[in-house]
């Protein structure tokens, strides 16, 4: 059961980064319609830097743990750094092999955060093909 490593289950049971954020700059909601996983991310942006982050959601252990893991490193990050973040980074954070059938679970958090930035910039949301890294 390597997908459900202790680290992942720990993040699933005790999610980090869920403390509500005061006055977020942008709030964005993403849903994985095929399984019903949902995430809402709140981001505070100051001087092109993330100065605060919070999330809430429901769904499978993988989607929730990946969001929890990602949330730990967002605060303090430059927008450019986040924009450049690749799906492989989330896979590294999870530290377990993620197969094709669970990739959307693993990347829902990244998808939500990236689209929060797009929303903030007044741009169209990026597609799943982009988030997964199949298309640019």
């Amino acid at each position: 059961m390597d997908l459900y490593a202790e680290n992942i289950l720990d993040h699933f049971r005790h999610p980090r980064g869920t403390e509500p954020l005061q006055k977020p700059t942008v709030v964005h909601h993403e849903i994985n319609a095929s399984c019903g996983d949902e995430l809402t991310v709140s981001v505070k942006i100051e001087n092109k830097k993330i100065t605060g982050f919070s999330w809430s959601g429901t769904g499978c252990a993988i989607s929730q743990a990946a969001m929890s893991l990602l949330s730990e490193e967002l605060t303090g990050m430059n927008l450019e750094q986040l924009e450049a973040m690749k799906p492989d980074h989330v896979k590294e954070l999870l530290g377990v092999p993620v197969g094709t059938r669970r990739i959307k679970c693993a990347l829902l958090g990244l998808h939500a955060v990236k689209n929060a930035l797009r929303k903030h910039a007044g741009q169209e949301p990026q597609s799943w093909m982009e988030t997964v890294g199949v298309e640019n």
Binding site: L9, C35, G36, T58, A61
Partner: protein, 409 residues
């Protein structure tokens, strides 16, 4: 009674070993495994009989055509159709329903109503929403009782408005495993002047259906849920109805004659079978039907019904599980769905799958039903002719283990 061991020997897939043990395949509502007889019949077709149908004067073409038309006759007998020409081979149940929506649907006008139940699979919803967009028809939703059974009063109320031209309902829910009262529905619909389409994608493998006795206007199902191959589906339609409907897909074989100004459609069933059909698959489906007849169709139905009742009894004793829908009754067949407190269905089935126990998780193409139930996803256990009580036991034990694994802090 069927002999599970003898049945199992006929399914090559069941020899697969996962995690050191034989696979436990309990995802039969998605697709069932195929007996050797079906695989061999299809191989023989490709190796010895492969030719296109309804064209070509060489003897092999004739042999292929005969086999294909024999397959149609086998299907017609299986569902009790009056004429083989009432059987249209399609790609799957979805395409069969789309055929009706695109062809029969063309005869509907703005303001006409199609009634659907909240149990429906997306394949019996989207074609009608598309028709709504195209023609401005209205869709009315037949409600459910608290336990998920169809609310007949709700249907009565819809039919009273005298606008319903078609009632399109599943014969067996692919989530709750609840049969719909087809006799009542059909009688009420016909009394109100509406036709009835039965989506039998699930029911076809678990109960006998006689289209004439039930007076069904349209019946749709897929071959692959009936121990046959993917790639072939069936639409049964009453002859006079199919004759009155415009052609669906245009192309080779569906026309009598064509000139620069127009065409005359072919007679049934070719009118609705444009292009080269899935010949080998249709022949494979006939082989599957023959296989169920050889085993004994009623015995298969009794076996899957008893096995599901066994699974229900066992599952209901597992802590932290809630079973969806009705808990008892003679109308529960095919599958059982449940949610597990604290574990997402995808996590549950992922872990079960790693142990070689195959269940489905998700919304099972019924987002509307799941929303009605107030959930986004569920896990589903569905049975077939080859499943055994031992397999159910293994599955339940694995579910319990997974719950423990997830809940320990």
């Amino acid at each position: 009674m069927i002999d599970p061991a003898a049945i199992r020997r006929q399914f090559p897939f069941l020899k697969r070993i996962v995690d050191g043990k034989p696979v436990v395949y309990l995802d039969n509502a998605a697709t069932v495994q195929k007996p050797q007889a079906v695989l061999e019949r299809m191989r023989r077709f490709y190796e010895e009989q492969n030719a296109n149908v309804n064209r070509g004067m060489h003897p092999l073409a004739e042999e292929a055509t005969i086999a294909y038309e024999e397959a149609r006759k086998t299907v017609a007998d299986f569902v009790g159709a009056k004429h083989p020409s009432e059987i249209i081979f399609t790609r799957n149940a979805t395409e069969s329903i789309n055929l009706v929506a695109r062809s029969f649907g063309e005869t509907l006008k703005k303001g006409d109503t199609v009634a659907l139940s909240l149990l429906e699979h997306h394949s019996n919803i989207i074609p009608w929403l598309q028709l709504k967009e195209r023609k401005g028809i209205a869709i009315e939703w037949i409600g459910l009782e608290q336990d998920g059974r169809v609310d007949i009063e709700s249907l009565r109320n819809i039919l009273e408005k005298k606008k319903t031209k078609l009632v399109s309902v599943t014969g067996l829910s692919n989530v709750l495993g609840i049969r719909t009262p087809l006799e009542k529905i059909i009688a009420l619909a016909h009394a109100a002047g509406a036709k009835v389409l039965v989506d039998a994608a699930q029911l076809i493998a678990h109960a006998s259906i006689d289209v004439q006795t039930l007076d069904i206007d349209f019946l749709a199902f897929s071959g692959h849920k009936l121990y046959g191959p993917t790639g072939v589906g069936v639409l049964y339609g009453k002859r006079e109805l199919l004759e009155s409907m415009p052609a669906f897909l245009g192309g080779g074989d569906m026309l009598e004659s064509v000139d620069q100004n127009g065409f005359i459609p072919a007679e049934l069933p070719r009118k609705f079978e444009a292009g080269t059909p899935s010949i080998a698959d249709a022949i494979g489906l006939a082989a599957a039907i023959e296989w169920t007849t050889l085993v004994c169709v009623d015995a298969i139905h009794t076996h899957t019904k008893n096995l599901l009742a066994y699974a229900r009894k066992k599952l209901s004793t597992v802590k932290n599980i809630s079973i969806l829908g009705a808990t008892s009754g003679n109308d529960l067949l095919g599958c059982i769905s449940f949610i597990t407190n604290g574990i997402h269905p995808h996590d549950l089935t992922e872990i079960l799958g790693r142990k070689g126990i195959c269940l489905r998780a998700g919304h099972h193409c019924t987002q509307i039903l799941h929303k009605h139930l107030g959930i986004t996803a569920s896990a589903r256990l569905s049975v077939g002719a080859y499943n055994t009580e031992e397999e159910i036991d293994r599955c339940i034990a694995a579910i319990e283990e997974t719950i423990l694994f997830f809940r320990k802090s």
